[in-house]
Protein backbone atom coordinates (compact mmCIF):
# COMPACT_ATOMS: atom_id res chain seq x y z
CA UNK A 1 0.00 0.00 0.00
CA UNK A 2 1.27 3.43 -0.88
CA UNK A 3 2.33 5.47 2.13
CA UNK A 4 1.82 9.20 2.46
CA UNK A 5 3.11 12.11 4.54
CA UNK A 6 -0.01 14.19 5.15
CA UNK A 7 -0.99 17.30 7.07
CA UNK A 8 -4.44 16.54 8.48
CA UNK A 9 -6.75 18.97 10.22
CA UNK A 10 -8.21 18.41 13.67
CA UNK A 11 -11.98 18.40 13.18
CA UNK A 12 -12.73 17.57 16.76
CA UNK A 13 -10.81 16.68 19.92
CA UNK A 14 -13.12 14.69 22.17
CA UNK A 15 -12.10 14.32 25.81
CA UNK A 16 -13.10 10.71 26.55
CA UNK A 17 -11.95 10.79 30.16
CA UNK A 18 -9.01 12.07 32.20
CA UNK A 19 -6.52 9.84 30.43
CA UNK A 20 -7.92 9.58 26.91
CA UNK A 21 -8.79 11.79 23.98
CA UNK A 22 -10.31 10.91 20.63
CA UNK A 23 -8.83 12.93 17.80
CA UNK A 24 -11.06 13.19 14.77
CA UNK A 25 -8.94 14.26 11.83
CA UNK A 26 -9.90 15.23 8.33
CA UNK A 27 -8.40 16.62 5.13
CA UNK A 28 -9.44 18.62 2.10
CA UNK A 29 -8.59 15.70 -0.14
CA UNK A 30 -9.95 12.19 0.22
CA UNK A 31 -8.06 10.11 2.79
CA UNK A 32 -6.07 7.22 1.28
CA UNK A 33 -7.17 3.60 1.82
CA UNK A 34 -6.27 2.23 5.27
CA UNK A 35 -6.82 -1.21 6.76
CA UNK A 36 -7.63 -2.29 10.31
CA UNK A 37 -4.49 -3.03 12.32
CA UNK A 38 -2.50 -0.40 10.49
CA UNK A 39 -1.13 2.63 12.30
CA UNK A 40 0.11 6.16 11.70
CA UNK A 41 3.27 7.95 12.86
CA UNK A 42 2.38 11.32 14.38
CA UNK A 43 4.77 14.27 14.42
CA UNK A 44 4.46 15.99 17.78
CA UNK A 45 5.00 19.76 17.83
CA UNK A 46 5.95 21.94 20.82
CA UNK A 47 7.42 19.11 22.84
CA UNK A 48 11.21 19.62 23.06
CA UNK A 49 11.79 16.13 24.44
CA UNK A 50 9.66 14.38 21.85
CA UNK A 51 12.13 13.91 19.03
CA UNK A 52 10.70 10.86 17.27
CA UNK A 53 7.24 10.46 15.81
CA UNK A 54 4.68 8.56 17.87
CA UNK A 55 2.97 5.43 16.52
CA UNK A 56 -0.81 5.47 17.01
CA UNK A 57 -3.30 2.85 15.77
CA UNK A 58 -5.99 3.66 13.29
CA UNK A 59 -9.05 3.65 15.53
CA UNK A 60 -11.63 4.16 12.83
CA UNK A 61 -11.93 5.53 9.31
CA UNK A 62 -15.16 7.09 8.10
CA UNK A 63 -14.70 7.46 4.35
CA UNK A 64 -18.09 9.13 3.91
CA UNK A 65 -17.22 11.92 6.32
CA UNK A 66 -13.52 11.72 5.33
CA UNK A 67 -12.52 11.20 8.96
CA UNK A 68 -9.62 9.40 10.59
CA UNK A 69 -10.00 8.66 14.29
CA UNK A 70 -7.10 8.28 16.71
CA UNK A 71 -7.69 7.23 20.31
CA UNK A 72 -4.84 8.57 22.41
CA UNK A 73 -3.92 7.61 25.95
CA UNK A 74 -1.88 10.26 27.73
CA UNK A 75 1.25 8.57 29.08
CA UNK A 76 4.04 11.08 28.46
CA UNK A 77 4.68 14.47 26.92
CA UNK A 78 4.17 13.35 23.31
CA UNK A 79 0.68 12.02 23.91
CA UNK A 80 -0.05 14.97 26.24
CA UNK A 81 0.72 17.42 23.43
CA UNK A 82 -1.47 15.39 21.08
CA UNK A 83 -4.29 15.60 23.62
CA UNK A 84 -3.98 19.39 23.63
CA UNK A 85 -4.55 19.76 19.88
CA UNK A 86 -7.34 22.19 19.07
CA UNK A 87 -9.97 22.27 16.39
CA UNK A 88 -8.45 23.34 13.05
CA UNK A 89 -4.88 22.62 14.20
CA UNK A 90 -2.80 20.82 11.64
CA UNK A 91 -1.04 17.55 12.45
CA UNK A 92 1.56 15.80 10.33
CA UNK A 93 1.20 12.04 9.89
CA UNK A 94 2.83 9.24 7.94
CA UNK A 95 0.23 6.67 6.95
CA UNK A 96 -0.88 3.96 6.54
CA UNK A 97 1.83 1.80 8.14
CA UNK A 98 2.11 -1.87 9.00
CA UNK A 99 0.07 -4.91 8.03
CA UNK A 100 -3.51 -5.90 8.73
CA UNK A 101 -5.47 -8.75 10.33
CA UNK A 102 -6.15 -11.96 8.40
CA UNK A 103 -9.89 -12.44 7.99
CA UNK A 104 -11.33 -15.95 8.31
CA UNK A 105 -12.37 -17.76 5.13
CA UNK A 106 -15.92 -18.48 6.22
CA UNK A 107 -18.32 -15.60 6.78
CA UNK A 108 -20.21 -17.55 9.45
CA UNK A 109 -17.06 -17.98 11.57
CA UNK A 110 -17.37 -17.23 15.26
CA UNK A 111 -15.10 -14.26 15.77
CA UNK A 112 -14.01 -12.66 19.05
CA UNK A 113 -12.12 -9.39 19.38
CA UNK A 114 -10.40 -9.10 22.77
CA UNK A 115 -9.07 -5.73 23.93
CA UNK A 116 -7.78 -4.05 27.04
CA UNK A 117 -6.94 -0.43 27.75
CA UNK A 118 -5.86 1.60 24.73
CA UNK A 119 -5.44 -1.73 22.94
CA UNK A 120 -9.12 -1.59 22.09
CA UNK A 121 -8.27 1.21 19.62
CA UNK A 122 -7.58 -0.90 16.50
CA UNK A 123 -10.44 -3.29 17.34
CA UNK A 124 -13.13 -0.71 16.61
CA UNK A 125 -12.02 -0.35 13.01
CA UNK A 126 -11.47 -4.10 12.73
CA UNK A 127 -14.99 -4.78 14.00
CA UNK A 128 -16.49 -2.23 11.62
CA UNK A 129 -14.50 -3.68 8.74
CA UNK A 130 -15.57 -7.22 9.58
CA UNK A 131 -19.20 -6.15 9.74
CA UNK A 132 -18.97 -4.32 6.44
CA UNK A 133 -17.58 -7.46 4.86
CA UNK A 134 -20.36 -9.62 6.24
CA UNK A 135 -18.65 -11.17 9.25
CA UNK A 136 -20.52 -10.86 12.54
CA UNK A 137 -18.21 -10.52 15.57
CA UNK A 138 -18.29 -10.13 19.32
CA UNK A 139 -16.10 -7.95 21.48
CA UNK A 140 -14.63 -8.84 24.83
CA UNK A 141 -13.30 -5.70 26.47
CA UNK A 142 -11.41 -5.50 29.74
CA UNK A 143 -10.57 -2.68 32.10
CA UNK A 144 -9.95 -1.83 35.71
CA UNK A 145 -13.43 -0.31 36.05
CA UNK A 146 -16.27 0.86 33.81
CA UNK A 147 -14.52 4.22 33.27
CA UNK A 148 -11.65 2.42 31.60
CA UNK A 149 -13.88 0.82 28.97
CA UNK A 150 -13.70 3.17 26.02
CA UNK A 151 -16.04 3.78 23.11
CA UNK A 152 -18.62 1.29 24.43
CA UNK A 153 -21.44 2.80 22.36
CA UNK A 154 -19.39 2.55 19.18
CA UNK A 155 -18.58 -1.09 19.87
CA UNK A 156 -22.22 -1.87 20.70
CA UNK A 157 -23.33 -0.46 17.35
CA UNK A 158 -21.18 -3.07 15.61
CA UNK A 159 -21.66 -6.26 17.59
CA UNK A 160 -22.25 -7.91 20.91
CA UNK A 161 -20.10 -6.44 23.69
CA UNK A 162 -18.91 -8.59 26.56
CA UNK A 163 -16.79 -7.07 29.28
CA UNK A 164 -14.81 -7.73 32.40
CA UNK A 165 -13.75 -5.19 34.99
CA UNK A 166 -11.37 -5.80 37.85
CA UNK A 167 -13.74 -4.08 40.31
CA UNK A 168 -16.89 -5.63 38.87
CA UNK A 169 -18.42 -2.25 37.98
CA UNK A 170 -19.34 -3.47 34.50
CA UNK A 171 -19.68 -6.94 32.97
CA UNK A 172 -18.09 -9.84 34.80
CA UNK A 173 -15.58 -9.28 37.56
CA UNK A 174 -11.97 -10.28 36.74
CA UNK A 175 -9.68 -10.38 33.72
CA UNK A 176 -10.77 -10.91 30.13
CA UNK A 177 -9.37 -14.43 30.08
CA UNK A 178 -11.65 -15.31 33.02
CA UNK A 179 -14.84 -14.36 31.14
CA UNK A 180 -17.41 -17.17 31.06
CA UNK A 181 -17.94 -16.89 27.30
CA UNK A 182 -14.55 -18.51 26.76
CA UNK A 183 -15.82 -21.70 28.39
CA UNK A 184 -19.14 -21.65 26.54
CA UNK A 185 -18.23 -20.93 22.94
CA UNK A 186 -15.51 -22.35 20.71
CA UNK A 187 -14.42 -19.44 18.55
CA UNK A 188 -12.94 -19.84 15.07
CA UNK A 189 -10.79 -16.72 15.29
CA UNK A 190 -9.60 -14.41 18.04
CA UNK A 191 -7.97 -11.03 17.47
CA UNK A 192 -6.43 -9.25 20.41
CA UNK A 193 -4.68 -6.02 21.31
CA UNK A 194 -3.83 -4.67 24.75
CA UNK A 195 -1.24 -4.90 27.49
CA UNK A 196 1.31 -7.65 26.82
CA UNK A 197 0.33 -9.81 29.83
CA UNK A 198 -3.28 -9.75 28.61
CA UNK A 199 -2.33 -10.67 25.06
CA UNK A 200 -0.11 -13.48 26.33
CA UNK A 201 -2.95 -14.88 28.41
CA UNK A 202 -5.29 -14.70 25.40
CA UNK A 203 -2.66 -16.38 23.23
CA UNK A 204 -2.30 -19.15 25.80
CA UNK A 205 -6.05 -19.71 25.78
CA UNK A 206 -6.06 -19.79 21.98
CA UNK A 207 -3.23 -22.31 21.89
CA UNK A 208 -4.91 -24.49 24.49
CA UNK A 209 -8.17 -24.50 22.56
CA UNK A 210 -6.48 -24.71 19.18
CA UNK A 211 -8.00 -21.43 18.00
CA UNK A 212 -6.65 -19.20 15.22
CA UNK A 213 -5.32 -16.08 16.97
CA UNK A 214 -3.64 -12.85 15.92
CA UNK A 215 -2.19 -10.25 18.28
CA UNK A 216 -1.22 -6.65 17.65
CA UNK A 217 2.11 -5.64 19.22
CA UNK A 218 3.29 -2.22 20.41
CA UNK A 219 7.08 -2.06 20.25
CA UNK A 220 8.97 1.22 20.40
CA UNK A 221 9.64 2.58 16.94
CA UNK A 222 11.82 5.16 15.25
CA UNK A 223 11.00 5.12 11.52
CA UNK A 224 7.81 3.05 11.27
CA UNK A 225 8.69 1.99 7.71
CA UNK A 226 11.19 -0.84 8.10
CA UNK A 227 14.34 1.22 7.66
CA UNK A 228 15.93 1.37 11.12
CA UNK A 229 15.35 -2.17 12.50
CA UNK A 230 14.74 -0.80 15.99
CA UNK A 231 11.28 -2.31 16.52
CA UNK A 232 12.02 -6.02 16.17
CA UNK A 233 10.30 -8.90 17.88
CA UNK A 234 11.66 -12.42 18.07
CA UNK A 235 9.79 -14.87 15.87
CA UNK A 236 10.20 -18.39 14.53
CA UNK A 237 11.87 -16.66 11.55
CA UNK A 238 14.27 -14.63 13.71
CA UNK A 239 14.08 -10.90 14.42
CA UNK A 240 11.46 -9.17 12.29
CA UNK A 241 10.24 -5.56 12.28
CA UNK A 242 6.95 -4.97 14.04
CA UNK A 243 6.35 -1.89 11.88
CA UNK A 244 6.38 -3.77 8.57
CA UNK A 245 5.88 -7.51 9.28
CA UNK A 246 3.45 -6.48 12.05
CA UNK A 247 2.04 -4.98 14.17
CA UNK A 248 -0.33 -7.94 13.67
CA UNK A 249 1.21 -11.39 14.20
CA UNK A 250 -0.18 -14.89 14.28
CA UNK A 251 0.66 -16.31 17.71
CA UNK A 252 2.23 -19.36 16.06
CA UNK A 253 4.93 -17.09 14.66
CA UNK A 254 5.83 -15.43 17.98
CA UNK A 255 8.16 -16.96 20.53
CA UNK A 256 5.65 -16.56 23.36
Amino acid sequence: MKKFILDLIVKENVRVNKQYVLLILTADEALPPMLPGQFVEVKVENSPNTFLRRPISINYVDYKKNELWLLVQIVGDGTLKMSELKENDSVNLILPLGNTFTLPEKKDSKILLVGGGVGTAPLLYLGAYLKENGYPCSFLLGGRSKDNLLQLCDFESIGEVLATTEDGSFGEKGFVTQHSVLNKIKFDAIYTCGPTPMMKAVAEYAKRTNTFCEVSLENTMACGIGACLCCVTDTTEGHVCVCTEGPVFNIEKLKW
Binding site: F51, I94, T220, A222, C223, A227, C228, C231
Partner: protein, 303 residues
Protein backbone atom coordinates in the same frame (compact mmCIF):
# COMPACT_ATOMS: atom_id res chain seq x y z
CA UNK B 1 21.70 27.54 -11.65
CA UNK B 2 24.55 26.33 -9.47
CA UNK B 3 26.31 23.08 -10.31
CA UNK B 4 25.82 20.47 -7.60
CA UNK B 5 28.15 17.75 -8.93
CA UNK B 6 30.81 16.36 -6.61
CA UNK B 7 33.43 13.65 -7.10
CA UNK B 8 34.61 11.34 -4.31
CA UNK B 9 37.46 9.31 -5.79
CA UNK B 10 36.01 7.88 -9.00
CA UNK B 11 32.54 8.21 -7.63
CA UNK B 12 30.47 10.88 -9.36
CA UNK B 13 27.65 12.33 -7.31
CA UNK B 14 24.90 14.42 -8.90
CA UNK B 15 24.75 16.32 -5.63
CA UNK B 16 26.53 16.08 -2.27
CA UNK B 17 23.59 14.54 -0.40
CA UNK B 18 23.80 10.88 0.56
CA UNK B 19 21.88 8.74 3.02
CA UNK B 20 23.56 7.30 6.11
CA UNK B 21 23.85 3.55 6.48
CA UNK B 22 21.30 1.86 8.72
CA UNK B 23 18.83 4.71 8.48
CA UNK B 24 17.61 4.35 4.92
CA UNK B 25 17.11 0.60 4.54
CA UNK B 26 17.86 -0.28 0.93
CA UNK B 27 16.35 2.95 -0.32
CA UNK B 28 13.12 1.49 -1.65
CA UNK B 29 11.50 1.88 1.79
CA UNK B 30 11.43 5.61 1.02
CA UNK B 31 10.29 5.59 -2.59
CA UNK B 32 6.66 6.38 -1.70
CA UNK B 33 7.82 9.69 -0.24
CA UNK B 34 10.18 11.06 -2.87
CA UNK B 35 12.05 10.22 -6.06
CA UNK B 36 15.02 8.47 -4.46
CA UNK B 37 17.05 8.72 -7.67
CA UNK B 38 17.43 12.45 -6.96
CA UNK B 39 19.68 11.63 -4.00
CA UNK B 40 23.43 11.83 -4.71
CA UNK B 41 24.17 8.47 -3.14
CA UNK B 42 22.27 5.84 -1.21
CA UNK B 43 24.33 4.04 1.39
CA UNK B 44 22.49 0.88 2.28
CA UNK B 45 22.36 -1.11 5.49
CA UNK B 46 25.48 -2.48 7.16
CA UNK B 47 26.31 -5.76 5.42
CA UNK B 48 28.39 -8.56 6.89
CA UNK B 49 29.80 -11.80 5.49
CA UNK B 50 27.26 -13.96 7.28
CA UNK B 51 23.69 -13.31 8.39
CA UNK B 52 23.35 -11.51 11.73
CA UNK B 53 20.25 -11.41 13.91
CA UNK B 54 21.43 -8.26 15.67
CA UNK B 55 20.81 -7.47 19.32
CA UNK B 56 17.69 -8.31 21.33
CA UNK B 57 14.85 -5.80 21.76
CA UNK B 58 14.82 -3.05 23.13
CA UNK B 59 17.16 -1.46 20.63
CA UNK B 60 16.01 2.13 20.84
CA UNK B 61 16.02 4.90 23.44
CA UNK B 62 14.85 8.38 22.63
CA UNK B 63 17.04 11.16 24.06
CA UNK B 64 16.73 14.94 24.04
CA UNK B 65 17.26 15.86 20.36
CA UNK B 66 18.37 12.42 19.37
CA UNK B 67 18.24 8.70 19.89
CA UNK B 68 20.38 5.79 21.01
CA UNK B 69 20.29 2.62 18.94
CA UNK B 70 21.60 -0.85 19.55
CA UNK B 71 20.56 -2.59 16.34
CA UNK B 72 23.80 -4.53 16.11
CA UNK B 73 24.12 -4.87 12.34
CA UNK B 74 21.11 -7.08 11.72
CA UNK B 75 21.32 -8.16 8.07
CA UNK B 76 20.97 -11.29 5.97
CA UNK B 77 24.60 -11.42 4.88
CA UNK B 78 26.41 -10.42 1.69
CA UNK B 79 25.33 -13.42 -0.41
CA UNK B 80 21.69 -12.65 0.26
CA UNK B 81 22.38 -9.03 -0.65
CA UNK B 82 24.04 -10.02 -3.94
CA UNK B 83 21.35 -12.53 -4.94
CA UNK B 84 18.16 -11.00 -3.62
CA UNK B 85 18.52 -7.30 -2.89
CA UNK B 86 20.99 -6.10 -5.50
CA UNK B 87 18.70 -7.11 -8.42
CA UNK B 88 15.89 -4.97 -6.94
CA UNK B 89 17.96 -1.82 -6.47
CA UNK B 90 20.61 -1.91 -9.18
CA UNK B 91 18.50 0.09 -11.62
CA UNK B 92 17.86 3.01 -9.29
CA UNK B 93 19.42 5.90 -11.18
CA UNK B 94 21.90 6.99 -8.52
CA UNK B 95 24.95 5.61 -6.72
CA UNK B 96 24.10 2.70 -4.47
CA UNK B 97 26.91 2.19 -1.97
CA UNK B 98 27.20 -0.74 0.42
CA UNK B 99 28.29 -0.27 4.02
CA UNK B 100 30.51 -3.21 5.01
CA UNK B 101 31.12 -4.47 8.52
CA UNK B 102 32.83 -7.45 10.08
CA UNK B 103 34.29 -8.94 13.18
CA UNK B 104 37.55 -10.07 11.60
CA UNK B 105 39.77 -8.66 8.87
CA UNK B 106 39.09 -11.72 6.72
CA UNK B 107 35.31 -11.05 6.95
CA UNK B 108 35.75 -7.52 5.61
CA UNK B 109 37.98 -8.77 2.81
CA UNK B 110 35.64 -11.57 1.75
CA UNK B 111 32.62 -9.24 1.78
CA UNK B 112 34.43 -6.52 -0.18
CA UNK B 113 35.57 -9.07 -2.78
CA UNK B 114 32.00 -10.20 -3.38
CA UNK B 115 30.82 -6.61 -3.80
CA UNK B 116 33.70 -5.71 -6.11
CA UNK B 117 32.07 -7.78 -8.84
CA UNK B 118 28.77 -5.89 -8.82
CA UNK B 119 28.61 -3.45 -11.76
CA UNK B 120 26.12 -1.06 -10.24
CA UNK B 121 27.83 -0.71 -6.87
CA UNK B 122 30.48 1.96 -7.53
CA UNK B 123 31.78 2.17 -3.95
CA UNK B 124 31.75 0.64 -0.51
CA UNK B 125 31.86 2.30 2.86
CA UNK B 126 33.93 0.36 5.37
CA UNK B 127 32.34 0.56 8.78
CA UNK B 128 35.15 0.29 11.31
CA UNK B 129 33.13 2.19 13.85
CA UNK B 130 29.99 0.33 14.89
CA UNK B 131 29.64 0.64 18.66
CA UNK B 132 26.98 -2.04 18.82
CA UNK B 133 28.79 -5.30 18.15
CA UNK B 134 31.00 -6.92 20.71
CA UNK B 135 33.57 -8.63 18.57
CA UNK B 136 35.36 -6.10 16.39
CA UNK B 137 33.27 -3.40 14.75
CA UNK B 138 34.35 -0.29 16.52
CA UNK B 139 37.49 -1.97 17.85
CA UNK B 140 38.97 -1.68 14.34
CA UNK B 141 38.30 2.01 14.22
CA UNK B 142 39.62 2.97 17.62
CA UNK B 143 43.26 2.02 17.12
CA UNK B 144 45.50 3.03 14.24
CA UNK B 145 47.10 -0.42 14.08
CA UNK B 146 43.87 -2.32 13.53
CA UNK B 147 42.39 0.38 11.27
CA UNK B 148 45.48 0.12 9.07
CA UNK B 149 45.18 -3.67 8.99
CA UNK B 150 41.61 -3.81 7.85
CA UNK B 151 41.80 -0.93 5.37
CA UNK B 152 45.07 -2.19 3.91
CA UNK B 153 43.68 -5.69 3.43
CA UNK B 154 40.44 -4.49 1.83
CA UNK B 155 42.26 -2.03 -0.44
CA UNK B 156 44.17 -4.97 -1.98
CA UNK B 157 40.97 -6.68 -3.14
CA UNK B 158 38.59 -3.77 -3.68
CA UNK B 159 39.24 -1.83 -6.88
CA UNK B 160 36.53 0.82 -6.81
CA UNK B 161 35.97 3.79 -4.52
CA UNK B 162 36.72 2.91 -0.92
CA UNK B 163 35.21 5.12 1.77
CA UNK B 164 36.20 4.45 5.39
CA UNK B 165 33.72 5.42 8.09
CA UNK B 166 35.36 6.67 11.26
CA UNK B 167 34.39 6.35 14.87
CA UNK B 168 34.08 9.46 17.03
CA UNK B 169 34.78 7.32 20.12
CA UNK B 170 38.53 8.04 20.00
CA UNK B 171 40.95 10.49 21.55
CA UNK B 172 42.21 11.90 18.26
CA UNK B 173 40.17 11.18 15.16
CA UNK B 174 42.72 12.86 12.86
CA UNK B 175 45.31 10.16 13.63
CA UNK B 176 43.01 7.41 12.43
CA UNK B 177 41.98 9.48 9.41
CA UNK B 178 45.60 9.94 8.36
CA UNK B 179 46.35 6.28 8.95
CA UNK B 180 43.53 5.04 6.70
CA UNK B 181 44.35 7.64 4.06
CA UNK B 182 47.89 6.28 3.95
CA UNK B 183 46.45 2.78 3.35
CA UNK B 184 44.68 3.98 0.22
CA UNK B 185 41.22 5.00 1.39
CA UNK B 186 39.65 7.27 -1.28
CA UNK B 187 37.57 9.12 1.28
CA UNK B 188 36.66 9.15 4.95
CA UNK B 189 33.14 9.58 6.30
CA UNK B 190 32.42 10.73 9.83
CA UNK B 191 30.94 10.44 12.32
CA UNK B 192 29.40 7.13 13.24
CA UNK B 193 27.35 7.18 16.43
CA UNK B 194 28.75 8.29 19.78
CA UNK B 195 28.75 5.65 22.49
CA UNK B 196 26.07 6.51 25.01
CA UNK B 197 23.67 5.08 27.56
CA UNK B 198 20.12 5.49 28.85
CA UNK B 199 18.67 4.43 32.19
CA UNK B 200 15.08 3.85 33.27
CA UNK B 201 15.16 5.13 36.85
CA UNK B 202 11.69 3.83 37.63
CA UNK B 203 12.70 0.25 36.89
CA UNK B 204 16.37 0.80 37.85
CA UNK B 205 17.31 -0.85 34.56
CA UNK B 206 19.13 0.11 31.40
CA UNK B 207 16.75 1.03 28.56
CA UNK B 208 18.72 -0.84 25.89
CA UNK B 209 19.23 -4.60 25.87
CA UNK B 210 22.94 -3.96 25.36
CA UNK B 211 23.13 -1.32 28.14
CA UNK B 212 25.12 1.06 25.90
CA UNK B 213 24.26 2.16 22.38
CA UNK B 214 25.05 4.65 19.63
CA UNK B 215 23.83 8.24 19.88
CA UNK B 216 22.69 10.03 16.72
CA UNK B 217 20.58 12.99 15.71
CA UNK B 218 20.93 16.76 16.33
CA UNK B 219 22.39 16.04 19.79
CA UNK B 220 25.68 14.95 18.15
CA UNK B 221 25.92 17.68 15.52
CA UNK B 222 28.37 20.05 17.25
CA UNK B 223 30.74 17.15 17.96
CA UNK B 224 30.47 15.90 14.38
CA UNK B 225 31.05 19.36 12.96
CA UNK B 226 34.17 19.82 15.07
CA UNK B 227 35.55 16.45 13.98
CA UNK B 228 34.85 17.10 10.30
CA UNK B 229 36.65 20.42 10.63
CA UNK B 230 39.69 18.75 12.22
CA UNK B 231 39.83 15.84 9.78
CA UNK B 232 39.36 18.00 6.70
CA UNK B 233 42.48 19.88 7.67
CA UNK B 234 44.40 16.68 8.39
CA UNK B 235 43.82 14.68 5.17
CA UNK B 236 43.86 15.33 1.42
CA UNK B 237 41.15 12.86 0.45
CA UNK B 238 37.59 14.16 0.39
CA UNK B 239 35.71 14.06 3.67
CA UNK B 240 32.06 13.07 3.93
CA UNK B 241 30.37 14.72 6.90
CA UNK B 242 27.45 13.46 8.91
CA UNK B 243 25.94 13.54 12.36
CA UNK B 244 22.70 15.28 13.20
CA UNK B 245 21.97 16.88 9.85
CA UNK B 246 18.27 17.79 9.76
CA UNK B 247 18.19 20.71 7.29
CA UNK B 248 19.99 22.19 4.31
CA UNK B 249 21.58 24.74 6.64
CA UNK B 250 23.08 21.93 8.73
CA UNK B 251 24.42 20.34 5.55
CA UNK B 252 25.96 23.62 4.40
CA UNK B 253 27.66 24.05 7.78
CA UNK B 254 29.36 20.65 7.32
CA UNK B 255 30.52 21.65 3.85
CA UNK B 256 31.86 24.97 5.09
CA UNK B 257 33.77 23.00 7.74
CA UNK B 258 35.42 21.03 4.94
CA UNK B 259 33.09 18.19 3.93
CA UNK B 260 32.87 17.48 0.19
CA UNK B 261 29.60 15.62 0.67
CA UNK B 262 27.22 14.90 3.51
CA UNK B 263 25.00 12.07 4.73
CA UNK B 264 21.57 12.24 6.31
CA UNK B 265 20.69 9.61 8.92
CA UNK B 266 18.29 9.95 11.80
CA UNK B 267 16.50 12.89 10.12
CA UNK B 268 14.97 10.39 7.66
CA UNK B 269 12.90 8.97 10.53
CA UNK B 270 11.36 12.34 11.34
CA UNK B 271 10.79 13.41 7.74
CA UNK B 272 11.07 10.59 5.19
CA UNK B 273 11.27 13.19 2.39
CA UNK B 274 14.04 15.24 4.02
CA UNK B 275 16.77 14.31 1.50
CA UNK B 276 15.20 16.12 -1.44
CA UNK B 277 14.45 19.12 0.77
CA UNK B 278 18.13 19.32 1.73
CA UNK B 279 19.18 19.07 -1.94
CA UNK B 280 16.80 21.87 -2.87
CA UNK B 281 17.92 23.95 0.12
CA UNK B 282 21.59 23.65 -0.82
CA UNK B 283 20.76 24.68 -4.36
CA UNK B 284 18.87 27.78 -3.20
CA UNK B 285 21.70 28.73 -0.85
CA UNK B 286 24.20 28.54 -3.72
CA UNK B 287 21.98 30.55 -6.03
CA UNK B 288 21.14 33.15 -3.39
CA UNK B 289 24.82 33.63 -2.54
CA UNK B 290 26.03 33.60 -6.14
CA UNK B 291 28.10 30.44 -5.97
CA UNK B 292 28.33 28.75 -9.35
CA UNK B 293 29.30 25.37 -7.92
CA UNK B 294 28.79 23.55 -4.67
CA UNK B 295 32.53 22.92 -4.69
CA UNK B 296 32.98 26.62 -3.88
CA UNK B 297 31.63 26.18 -0.36
CA UNK B 298 33.79 23.20 0.63
CA UNK B 299 36.01 24.41 3.46
CA UNK B 300 34.96 27.99 2.77
CA UNK B 301 34.63 28.79 6.45
CA UNK B 302 36.15 32.20 7.14
CA UNK B 303 38.20 32.09 10.32
Amino acid sequence: MANLNINIGDLQLKNPVMTASGTFGYGTEYSDFMDISRIGGIIVKGTTLRERQGNPYPRLAETPSGMLNAVGLQNKGVDYFVNNIYPTIKDVDTNVIVNVSGSEVSDYVATAEKLNGLDKIPAIELNISCPNVKEGGMAFGTSCVSAVQVVGAVRKVYKKTLIVKLSPNVTDITEIARAVEAEGADSVSLINTLLGMAIDAKRRKPVLSTITGGLSGPAVKPVALRMVWQVAKAVKVPVIGLGGIMTATDAIEFMLAGASAIQIGTANFIDPAVCVKVIEGIESYLNDNNFSSVKDIIGALEV
